[in-house]
Amino acid sequence: MSIIQTKDLVFDYIRRDEEGNVESIVSAVDHVSLQVKEGSFIAILGHNGSGKSTLAKHINAILSPTEGTVWVDGMDTRDDDKLWDIRQCAGMVFQNPDNQIIGQVVEEDVGFGPENMGVPTKEIWERVEESLKAVGMYEYRKHSPNKLSGGQKQRVSIAGVLAMHPKIIVLDEPTAMLDPMGRKEVIRAARALNQVEGITVILITHYMEELVHADQVFVMDQGRVVMEGTPREIFSQVEKLQSLRLTVPQVTLLAHELKKRGLPLPDGILTVEEFLAAIG
């Protein structure tokens, strides 16, 4: 069963001059048809301007298709009556944690979403507790968000989405501004939501190491999906990724380089452990 499905999705950015005449049309998303299985961990790769974020913004109806259709949990995102159901079903976390946190205290911030949905007070507190525990931030519940590190703030943002009981979480470059430890914490939290809570995770990232555990990867270029497969299938194609302004994890690149020089190594080595096992 697909939790997200797009059919011939097109989104045009239309530029107009001062009189309102159309100057140019850029298709940021250009006839994308894809399906995401419920409970899977999906990664979307692509260079800056390839259409990843535009595609992601269709999943919680921030953007509405120019052509084609997007269904989220069976709901057509153009259906205005379903708007709030769609946004509750698919939560979004963005790059900059400082733009997403509004509460003075961590637990208030996390409670904001369910409160806004009209959830009864007692249940709000239950949801806040379980959400903060799921991202490993429960002990910070009484803290002020501005005293937290970037990785901790980003996990509070995720908890805020989680408290709305979504089926899908879209993370749009959640680690771009974080230090190495913060990056690890956020990716670990995202994996836990997927594996423990069964939430469908869509991760957009420019850090290749972050998606080696994904179930499926989509690679975008010029608004189209140009590659699709498991991380191993995708990362086996080093030159093709490089031509799309992307790369592979360092360990994959090293194995690829050694293979070119004649060492008999398999394609698409993804982790240090796999590399060491392959060397023997």
Partner: protein, 283 residues
């Protein structure tokens, strides 16, 4: 002339129990033309230190000498310092504002009091050195791609013709090719123009690939100071500080543990590939 930082401390909050030291007794010498990487977790003091170097923040105690002069001397002109030490903030493209790329890059040199002709000459050179195609000079900066915008923002600082360039996470949010392009550009400013470069980064792989020297900051202090090989050799300590080493370091250490005789301190893919091939050539 090198930059000399002498017992620099910066504290905020009230003196006494509430006093927090963002920088705690830092002493350093940075020779001309060196490419220095600064790493440390969020809040370790990296950006605070950088803001001292062009006079945006003033130390609570200690001194900074630039070209042999104490920048805290009463008659020292901070404006001159700021034209010599260029600072590129995080997401510098958010500071673009002019109607076209060329005007935006002219803003800095004009502000220095240069004539229109001189300012335009500098803007032209700066845009050329960041590799902007000429047909984009009269486009609105807001119509450019993310990587291009960032180049324009860097050109705006280069047009001031600084001797020292400080960049705070210049590759955040860029795709892998965009990261390589920006870092390659910065490296060429060092090798071709002999600029001193200070690069604040969260990417251990990038730092390992490009810099001559790494400073590791933690709790407002310099905890390590050495070449990438020396610093990443202490990867366990880095992990305790919330940092890490490049993936290559973990591979080489893993090979050592398995009993292979390799140089465990390789920090780049190219070095590691050469080292592992030696192993197999020996048989």
């Amino acid at each position: 002339m090198p930059i000399i930082i002498d017992h620099l401390t910066y504290s905020y909050g009230d003196a006494g129990a509430d006093e927090k030291k963002a920088l705690d007794d830092i002493s350093l010498t940075i020779p001309d033309g060196q490419f220095v990487g600064i790493i440390g977790h969020t809040g370790s003091g990296k950006s605070t230190l950088m803001q001292h170097l062009n006079g945006l923040l003033k130390a609570t105690s200690g001194h900074i000498y630039f070209d042999g002069q104490d920048i805290y001397d009463k008659d020292y002109k901070l404006k001159e310092l700021r034209s010599r030490v260029g600072l590129v903030f995080q997401y510098p493209e958010h500071q673009l504002f002019e109607i076209d790329v060329f005007s935006d890059v002219c803003f800095g040199p004009k502000n220095l009091g240069l004539s229109k002709a001189d300012a335009e000459y500098r803007a032209f050179n700066a845009l050329r050195s960041v590799g902007m195609p000429e047909e984009l000079y009269y486009q609105s900066p807001f119509d450019l791609s993310g990587g291009q915008k960032r180049r324009v923002a860097i050109a705006g600082v280069l047009a001031m013709e600084p001797k020292v360039l400080i960049l705070d996470e210049p590759t955040a949010g860029l795709d892998p090719k965009g990261r390589d392009e920006i870092l390659g550009l910065i490296k060429s400013l060092q090798t071709q123009k002999n600029m001193t470069i200070l690069l604040v980064s969260h990417s251990m792989e990038d730092v390992a690939e490009y810099v001559d020297r790494i400073l590791v900051m933690d709790a407002g202090r310099i905890k390590m100071d050495g070449t990438p090989r020396e610093v990443f050799h202490r990867y366990r300590e880095l992990e305790e500080m919330g940092l890490a080493a490049p993936q290559v370091t973990y591979i080489m250490q893993g090979l050592l543990e398995k009993g292979y005789e390799v140089d465990g301190d390789c920090t780049t893919v190219a070095e590691a590939a050469d080292e592992i091939m030696k192993l197999f050539r020996r048989g």
